[in-house]
Structures are given as structure tokens and as C-alpha cells.
């Protein structure tokens, strides 16, 4: 009986019901889509950072991440290569040798990260090759060829064909110096990376740095990126004690934390909006209930207890809110899914973000049913609570007061 009465009351005050319904619907859609876009941009930023150079996983000597020096090198890269060769879960892997050296062109000298890579293997592990903007990418037979970051090339005032001096320390602490010809220039969009990095063929760099059969770390890519954490844990069981396998979450911990903080601020910002919506719905509920004071007084006179009145009014509100939140969740999910499949391409966005070290040329959502479920529940709970105060207030009035209420 309460249910049919609640339904009748909803239909009786159509205007207010529709407004409450639409407000709740709009809030739900907005929240789901907002969170999906926020998470989507974070996923995209992290994915770009992972795929441009860092990679999904590394194997290095324990302590290398804290002190990236010659005391923490993999001293027998061949044995690690043999071990990784037997790993069926790995799609690709390759050793890298990284060092800090001085690059000099004419009067300009800049301290830079020099990466020794195996060009053919790197194609499947990073976006270095696809980031080429001028000249050609490295190949496995290159000797004195360097692949320069676009901003580093600008800072060095160097162009294709220029001879650049590289001065560093070899593993025996002697001075390692050689001239390299600029073979290609790359731009990933990661500003810091483009302005501080240069790459050469590892085989040649090894002869200069006396780092044959040594590596700073191995970069890994598994058949399925989503299995990275599981496979990293499994690798850690198999590796000799002095080595460790790290996932991108460990390697980019600062970025991951920054994204978490950003999410927190995102939720805080939208919660202000929800607070407004919460009060709007509450005021609507308040007005709605008080215009029916006499009707409530009549029900009370007919024997309805304050508890039954509470159930009736809450039931009315719940029907409206639950239906609107449900429909809102469906619409929000559909929108999120659409923009997950079809990201919004924004020309010039990459340029706008590059100063922050972020590579984004499109905005996509992260379609995650679990997150949508939690978002929906949060809105449902919040909107349901908004009717609590008006119900409490009306139940405070006596039967006589409600009957006489003008």
C-alpha cells in the first residue's frame, strides 16, 4: 500500500518529481563521465611514459634504482639474457647501458644521459624509432652515430651530420671520448627526455666505455601488458639473489603518486559540485514535503505513525533517485565506453602539455565497470541521504500542527 501511495504522490507533483529526477540523473552521468575522463587521462599519461622509453618492466641489480652508477651494473649480461630467453611469458627484452656524459658541439657542452641500445630490439620495446623526426634511426651496425633528442639538439645547436664530442668515464675510470655524427633526431614529447637524452648503438658504446657483456638493466615486455605485475612477481622468484625485476609502477613511482594526488584533487573539486546538488535536492524535497503538510497531517490522523510517514516519504524519494541514478549510470557508462573506444583528438594538445613532460594528443576515458559501480553507489547514497532532514523536520510536527499548517 505504501509503495502505490508513494507512486501516486510522485505522479501527483510531476514538476518537482521531474526536476529531482533530472538533477539526480545529470549528477550521475556527470560524475561517471568526469571520473572516467580523469582516470583515462591518468592511464594515458602513464601508458605514454611507460611505452616511450621506460618500458613495462626492468631487471637490474638490487640498488640500481637508488644509485644508477657503475657499481650497480649487471656484470654478466649474457647469463641474464640466457635466463630471459627461456621465459615463455616474455615477448621482447633487451639490455641497455646508460651513463651520464658530456656532449659537446663547438663552444656548447651539455651533460646528458647517454643510452646504449640495441636498435633492432628497441623497436619492439620503446617508441624511440617512431619518435624520429629528422634523419634516420640507428641500426645494429652503427659505430660513431648518435640519435639525439630534439631539444638536446637545439641546445647543442646541432643538426644532422654534425660531429659531436662525447666525453664520459669508462668502467675502468679512464676518460672515454669520441666523436659521433648526428644520424637522427627524435621527439617523444616528453620534454625532459627530449632535452637530456642521446642514444648510440650499445655494441659500439661498449667498446668506448669498456662495458662489454655489461648492462645497466634489461627492459622487458610481456605478451600481455596486463599480466606485467604477475609475471614480474614470477620472475623475481627465478632471478639470482642479487637481481630484481621491477614493474613500471616501481619505475615510475613518482608519476604514479602524482596521478593519485591529482585524482584526489579531482574528487575534491567535483565534491563541491555535488554538495550543491545535494542541497538543491534536499531543498526540493523539503518544499515538496512541506506543501503536503496537510496531507501528511491527514494520514497521521488516519493512524499513520511517524515511522510509516518516514517510510512513505523515503520510498517516494528512493523510487525517484534509484530510477534516475540507474538510468544515469547506464548513460554515463555508454558515454564512457564511447570515448574509451573513440578518444577525442585535440590538435595542439601535445604542445600545450609538453612543458609538463606529458604526452597527450587526445583525451580518452578509462572504461572500468568497477569504478562506475562505486561512482553509482556513491551518488545513490548521497542523494538518498538528502531527504533525511526534511522527513525529520515534518515528523517533528504534531498531528494538530500539520492539520493547521498553512
Amino acid at each position: 500500500m505504501l509503495y502505490s501511495l508513494a507512486l501516486k504522490n510522485i505522479l501527483a507533483s510531476k514538476g518537482r518529481s521531474i526536476t529531482t529526477f533530472l538533477l539526480s540523473l545529470f549528477t550521475t552521468v556527470l560524475f561517471i563521465v568526469y571520473v572516467a575522463f580523469m582516470d583515462g587521462s591518468h592511464v594515458q599519461i602513464i601508458q605514454n611514459s611507460v611505452e616511450i622509453y621506460t618500458g613495462y618492466g626492468h631487471i637490474n641489480v638490487k640498488g640500481y634504482e637508488e644509485a644508477k652508477d657503475y657499481d650497480h651494473l649487471i656484470e654478466d649480461a649474457a647469463s641474464i639474457e640466457t635466463l630471459l630467453g627461456k621465459e615463455s611469458s616474455l615477448a621482447y627484452f633487451s639490455p641497455r647501458f646508460e651513463t651520464y656524459a658530456l656532449l659537446s658541439n663547438k663552444e656548447i657542452s651539455i651533460g646528458s644521459m647517454i643510452g646504449g641500445i640495441i636498435p633492432s630490439k628497441e623497436k619492439n620495446l620503446s617508441r624511440l624509432q617512431s619518435a624520429l623526426i629528422k634523419g634516420t634511426y640507428l641500426d645494429d651496425n652503427d659505430t660513431n652515430a648518435v640519435y639525439l633528442g630534439s631539444d638536446l639538439a637545439k641546445r647543442l645547436k646541432a643538426d644532422l651530420g654534425d660531429k659531436i664530442a662525447l666525453i664520459g668515464s669508462s668502467l675502468d675510470n679512464a676518460t672515454a671520448a669520441d666523436l659521433f655524427t648526428v644520424k637522427g633526431i627524435f621527439k617523444t614529447g616528453l620534454f625532459e627526455f627530449d632535452s637530456n637524452s642521446a642514444f648510440v648503438n650499445k655494441t659500439y658504446l661498449d667498446t668506448l666505455m669498456m662495458s662489454q657483456n655489461k648492462a645497466s638493466y634489461f627492459i622487458l615486455r610481456f605478451h600481455h601488458d596486463k599480466d606485467t605485475f604477475k609475471e614480474i612477481a614470477s620472475l623475481n622468484q627465478k632471478l639470482p639473489r642479487e637481481y630484481e625485476a621491477l614493474s613500471w609502477k616501481d619505475l615510475l613511482s613518482a608519476l604514479v603518486q602524482a596521478m593519485e594526488v591529482d585524482s584526489l584533487f579531482g574528487y575534491l573539486s567535483i565534491s563541491i559540485f555535488f554538495l550543491v546538488i545535494f542541497f538543491v535536492i534536499m531543498i526540493f524535497g523539503y518544499v515538496n514535503i512541506y506543501t503536503r503538510t496537510k496531507q501528511i497531517g491527514l494520514l497521521r490522523a488516519l493512524g499513520f505513525t511517524p515511522g510509516a510517514i518516514k517510510k512513505l516519504l523515503f520510498g517516494e524519494h528512493l523510487i525517484l533517485i534509484a530510477s534516475s541514478v540507474l538510468i544515469g549510470a547506464l548513460i554515463g557508462s555508454a558515454v564512457s565506453y564511447y570515448f574509451h573506444i573513440h578518444p577525442i583528438l585535440i590538435p595542439g594538445l601535445a604542445d600545450m602539455y609538453k612543458d609538463y613532460g606529458v604526452v597527450i594528443d587526445s583525451i580518452a576515458t578509462d572504461f572500468n565497470p568497477l569504478t562506475i559501480g562505486w561512482d553509482t553507489l556513491a551518488i545513490l547514497l548521497l542523494n538518498s541521504l538528502s531527504i533525511g532532514y526534511p522527513i525529520r523536520q515534518i515528523n517533528k510536527l504534531s498531528v494538530t500542527e500539520t492539520m493547521r499548517y498553512v
Partner: protein, 243 residues
């Protein structure tokens, strides 16, 4: 009470002045007006031991020229410091390279010394405020705190000085978190012409990861008493005196 306060303040200033004078006297003794030296540097690290022999010419604290004599693969590499700038000549690639400020904290020739140590861009007397901590004649302990706008690397230096011979005995370097970072000890103090000099220096980093590291420098020849040819302190000298 008022007199006690004034007396205490005066004591602080007197001690500060005295400490400043001691630091200046030590710097003047070690640098001299001109200095020629031949040194042997032994670098010990996890990766083994390495010996480097160098020859150096300097004039006051503004100009210095260093030439690597040994090992063979580094022979002929020269360094020139003029004021706060540093250049390097590498005979293998026949290039003169200017060392940028960002590389000043990098290791010099694989040792525990930095490029900044070599150019002595920072001066204890000019960039630090000195304070006398302990006086136990002839040894004094002085604390050096960077002046507010000084471009220096260390958060603090505490040094033990033999004031009778105007030589340091020990220097403890702290980072900006006031954690001890490295210790330099001086020994084998001898008369070198008109100056007294510790003929052996040992630098030990305190990073637990670098427990095995140390750099020892032995002065094999020192001459403070002959002026140095100004031709050494030009960029042309880098190539000219490389052979």
C-alpha cells in the same frame, strides 16, 4: 648582566675574526702566489685500483693548469681553470671542451674528487663564515657555514687545523641536511721551499654504498718559489702543452 651580554658578544666576534684569520692563513700557505706540483693519485673503488699522475701549475686561486701524465690512455689530457670557468682538452679527439656548471659535481678522472674540487670555485675564506669551535694548541677546530648567497656545494665544513704550521689536518664535509658526506685527511707534513705542505691527502666518501672508495693524493714534487709562465693560463695552452 648588560656587561656580561656585551662581553659574550665581543667574545663571539673575536673568535669569529680569529677563525677567519686562521682560514685565510691556511689558504694562503697552501696556495702560495705560484705553485708547481707533480702528484700521484690512487683511486680505490669496488671496481679496483687506478693510479693517475698529474702535473699542475697554478697562480693564486684564479688560474690553474693540469696535465695528465699517466695512465697511457689519458696521457696528454689537459685542464685549464680561469676564475670560475673550466676547459678540458682531449688529444684523442683533438677538441677543447668547456665544462658546464652542471658537471661541476661529477667525478674528476674517476676519483672521489669533483670537478668543483679541482677548480676550487668555492673558497673557504670567501664563501664561508668561520667560527672557532675548539682551541687546543696548536690544533684548532673551526666550523665553516656557507654565507647566505654563496654558491657552494656543502652545508657545513668542520676542519682541524695545525695553526703553528698553517696546514689542515682533517676536513669533514656535510650536506645541506647536515649529514656527514666525506672526510679528507692530511698527513706527511713537510717543508716545501717557503711553504709547509701535507704531502699526502686522503679523501673518503661516507656513503655506505661507497665504503671501499678512497682517493689518495701524494705530492711528489712541489715548488712554490718560481713564478709560472703566464702562457700556461690561456686556452691555447690546452693543446700546446698537451704533448
Amino acid at each position: 648582566m648588560k656587561y656580561l651580554f656585551v662581553w659574550l658578544i665581543s667574545i663571539v666576534f673575536v673568535f669569529a675574526d680569529e677563525a677567519d684569520d686562521i682560514v685565510k692563513a691556511v689558504e694562503k700557505n697552501l696556495r702560495g702566489d705560484y705553485m708547481y706540483a707533480q702528484m700521484r693519485m690512487i683511486v680505490t673503488s669496488k671496481r679496483g685500483q687506478r693510479t693517475v699522475k698529474v702535473e699542475s701549475w697554478s697562480q693564486g686561486d684564479k688560474k690553474s693548469f693540469i696535465k695528465i701524465l699517466y695512465p697511457k690512455q689519458d696521457m696528454g689530457i689537459t685542464f685549464l681553470k680561469l676564475d670560475t670557468q673550466m676547459w678540458q682538452y682531449l688529444p684523442k679527439i683533438e677538441r677543447i671542451i668547456k665544462i658546464p656548471p652542471s658537471m661541476m659535481l661529477q667525478s674528476w678522472m674517476g676519483s672521489d674528487f669533483t670537478n668543483d674540487d679541482m677548480v676550487k670555485e668555492s673558497s673557504m675564506s670567501k664563501d664561508y663564515d668561520a667560527r672557532l669551535l675548539l682551541k687546543k694548541m696548536p690544533i684548532v677546530t673551526i666550523e665553516l657555514i656557507p654565507k647566505p648567497n654563496a654558491a657552494v656545494v656543502w652545508g657545513k665544513i668542520v676542519t682541524d687545523i695545525d695553526i703553528s704550521r698553517k696546514v689542515p689536518l682533517k676536513e669533514v664535509y656535510y650536506d645541506d641536511q647536515m649529514q656527514e658526506v666525506r672526510i679528507m685527511t692530511f698527513s706527511d707534513i713537510r717543508q716545501a721551499g717557503s711553504h709547509i705542505l701535507p704531502m699526502k691527502m686522503e679523501l673518503q666518501p661516507l656513503d655506505p654504498d661507497k665504503k671501499q672508495n678512497r682517493t689518495q693524493v701524494f705530492f711528489e714534487k712541489v715548488n712554490y718559489d718560481n713564478p709560472i709562465d703566464p702562457a700556461y693560463f690561456t686556452k691555447q695552452a690546452l693543446k700546446r702543452f698537451s704533448n
